[in-house]
Symmetry: C2
Subunit: 234 residues, 2 copies
DNA sequence: GTTTGTGAACCGTTTCACAGCA
DNA sequence: TGCTGTGAAACGGTTCACAAAC
């Protein structure tokens, strides 16, 4: 029974990273992984990894570890990337074009099936081989092309409107690159990717680190610290 | 005394959103905001907002709310975006170029001061008006141009090497677009922005939502649900 | 020896509830 | 009445510790 399980937000993020590591190891010909190695690649403790994998119903062998192939398959099943996801990209600006050109996505179960833009100067052109359609065509195209997710890469002012169009057209989830919180029905999950927010978080982390090193004692291995994790010992 | 306070990861994300809302309201001419309105724009409860603002030392007026201008200034001070941050962008591929062209960043306290790439076919060209330099020039340029943060937009295979170069050159933080966990000294914070991970998180959320609606009773306002938050009543 | 699986303790964040002020 | 500030309670995720399995 695949797909059973409630996965928390941070756990979902980690699963994504475990999957990457499992794929990397599989390509290298490795057959098993330990929870510790898996954890190192995701910045998590080994016990954390075992908890995560336990939740999604994957089990390993004591003394051996987890089967790399089975692990990857199990994570894909939980995430839901066994089949191909077709996406509608709205906004053929800088971010939109970069995304459409990001060919690697195809190998990972995703596919940009249609591109939309409001500007007449862009409509009709081709972006990564796909003809740009006017946003009025969203509803019909999403249905015809069996599109599951919408990607919003438009200026913040237009984001809400586009979100409404996509939801009305029947997409099941939205990836939002616009720096604006979208108001959509809870039936359609939204994941935000926000450059500015990321930069601000980074700068805040830098500031906090500065204060620590000047105010507190110079060298102190902080508990929540990132990097080459110093979890050893038992 | 600005900058005093320990801010948790989720709190940092929210502060970033409060700042956006405060700026938006300021532009609209509004003078005060309530914690509830601020919370709605960030997907947080009102009490949460008050806690957050209390931590950074901002206080509002009972019965009135928070002063929009003072709030924005306080958040900027905590984040550390009063001054301008100069960034080194490594990787002039699709994502790199999109980022360099994202002019809005300038208005928000950030500036791409240099662009680097390894490919000889790209070095010497101009990206958003900036000449692309070879990655060997990172160390010298970062120092000369007083660059504080590095942005990694290269393929995953090269990410770690670039990270090492940036850290050696003396950047204080790294924004990483490569889908690879970087191993860097804890002294240099890293914030990851990962499209694939975001897409996978989205698809997982979609799958989970599907199961809920089919397995459980059809209509149920879930507690952790997103969207127009139904927090009313008291 | 190595590594998994898991109950229990721990910790930080979120929510609740309400006193206090405009 | 509307809204802030805050202790206390509730919640959820992480870490610990160790028995069991290889």
């Amino acid at each position: 029974m695949p797909g059973r399980a409630r996965v928390s937000r941070p756990a979902a993020e980690r699963l994504s990273l475990y999957l990457r590591e499992a794929e990397r190891l599989a390509a290298l010909g490795r057959v098993t992984v330990s929870s510790r190695q898996l954890g190192a690649s995701a910045g998590a403790a080994d016990a954390q990894v075992r908890k995560d994998l336990g939740i999604i119903g994957t089990s390993g062998q004591p003394g051996i570890g987890y089967d790399v192939a089975a692990l990857a398959a199990a994570i894909r099943a939980v995430i839901g990337v066994q089949e191909r996801w077709r996406a509608a990209l709205v906004g053929a600006g800088n971010i939109g074009r970069a995304l459409a050109a990001y060919r690697r996505l195809c190998e990972e179960g995703f596919e940009v099936a249609a591109v939309f833009d409001r500007a007449e100067s862009v409509v009709g052109r081709r972006v990564a081989g796909i003809e740009v359609l006017p946003i009025e065509a969203i509803a019909e195209t999403v249905r015809r092309e069996a599109i599951g997710i919408g990607i919003i890469a438009v200026p913040p002012e237009a984001a809400q409107e586009v979100a409404d169009l996509l939801v009305a057209a029947g997409v099941r989830g939205i990836l939002n690159f616009a720096p604006r919180r979208l108001q959509v029905t809870p039936r359609v999950p939204v994941v935000d990717v926000d450059f500015r927010s990321a930069l601000e978080r980074l700068v805040l982390a830098v500031s906090q680190r500065d204060e620590e090193s000047t105010a507190d004692r110079p060298l102190a291995a902080r508990p929540g610290a990132r990097g080459v994790d110093p979890r050893r010992k038992r």
